[in-house]
Symmetry: none
Subunit: 218 residues, 2 copies
Amino acid sequence: MEWEKQQQQQQPVAPPQTAEELNSGGGGGGGGGGMFVKVMTDEQMEVLRKQIAVYATICEQLVDLHKSMATQHDLAGARLGNLYCDPLVTAAGHKITGRQRWTPTPMQLQILERIFEQGNGTPSKQKIKEITSELSQHGQISETNVYNWFQNRRARSKRKQQVAATNNTESEVETEVESPNEKKTKPEDLQSSHMPTSMAEDLGYQNPEVSSGMHSID
Amino acid sequence: MEWEKQQQQQQPVAPPQTAEELNSGGGGGGGGGGMFVKVMTDEQMEVLRKQIAVYATICEQLVDLHKSMATQHDLAGARLGNLYCDPLVTAAGHKITGRQRWTPTPMQLQILERIFEQGNGTPSKQKIKEITSELSQHGQISETNVYNWFQNRRARSKRKQQVAATNNTESEVETEVESPNEKKTKPEDLQSSHMPTSMAEDLGYQNPEVSSGMHSID
DNA sequence: CTTTTATGAATGAAGG
DNA sequence: CCTTCATTCATAAAAG
């Protein structure tokens, strides 16, 4: 069944919320104030988690970006796929190979993974619409993209299981063909959501609070 | 078709520190499992705030840095769609696991080439198994490797022809694509990327619930 | 050791 | 759904 041919929807500009706002958001505890405990609902907790995850993601991306840029200057820029068509380059008279393949942003992927994980393995058309709507908050996306993503995702994990089973069932006496450096199939295939984590270290942003959890912050 | 997507390469275990810990991390405050609400102490609250602030700060600085770098050169191409959760860098800056890819031995390559040449351009599932079996006598290999090899090989040679065709601009009219393989340029609207310069805005979106909610609770 | 090239692998999209 | 194709990414290998 064919969905709409890649409708491209304009992503609504997100509220120009700046970091400062966030910063001041929770700023109650510092100055002393109530000694009472704070109570949060699961919902609030989830929202908070998301927020932090978003920042973590951004940081990770930026760090990554800078790494590659630092490593190989413009080469990195030239090879990058997501770039807009260079206005000047198009003069070559060739096909304007603008990006035509959707690439989920980390944020979108995170959401998709979560939905996928929820076991709701049957993305109905209606569901797709909803998801697409939500994801478009984080970047351009179409229902087709979402649909394809789920299809591919499903197929992929299925194959993975299949292979895993094959490996385990292997009763043959194979001559341990394993390189010293090589690690064979790892029994782990759980694709739990990979929350963006740790990367502050790379930048020298040493932050005890962040990395070691909520102990002794002082 | 594809079987195991990846078997000999596994992703290194990501550092356990995730946003999730925010939930359980505050054990001191009595964050028991399965409760309706999460309870946090002032200290924990402060830590959380700091944590977010740290991310915000890092992001700001990185974005800033990126901007200035992007200004100098045209690049600004940010390819952040890539998300292999493969940090492979610990806090110490040491690599945990080296991702390594299969490299065919000369012997294997020879056999593969021979099979490819035989015109059996249709590597079936069964066929792959046989080939893999044979090749494994000459070194470590998996069906995935074989499958990928054929896929790549085919694509490559196809591309070669295509490029070669670009040269013969003489015979007929200009529409150079005489090969049965036409670049399926989708009549789709060009959806440009949005990341590079304004990623902060995109991902910076945040639900007001958090700050407001936390405030009211406080 | 750094830069470039060759190619294995990942994945979005199309076809059946 | 499942299979196949095309494009892209990352890295081993080769070149400088």
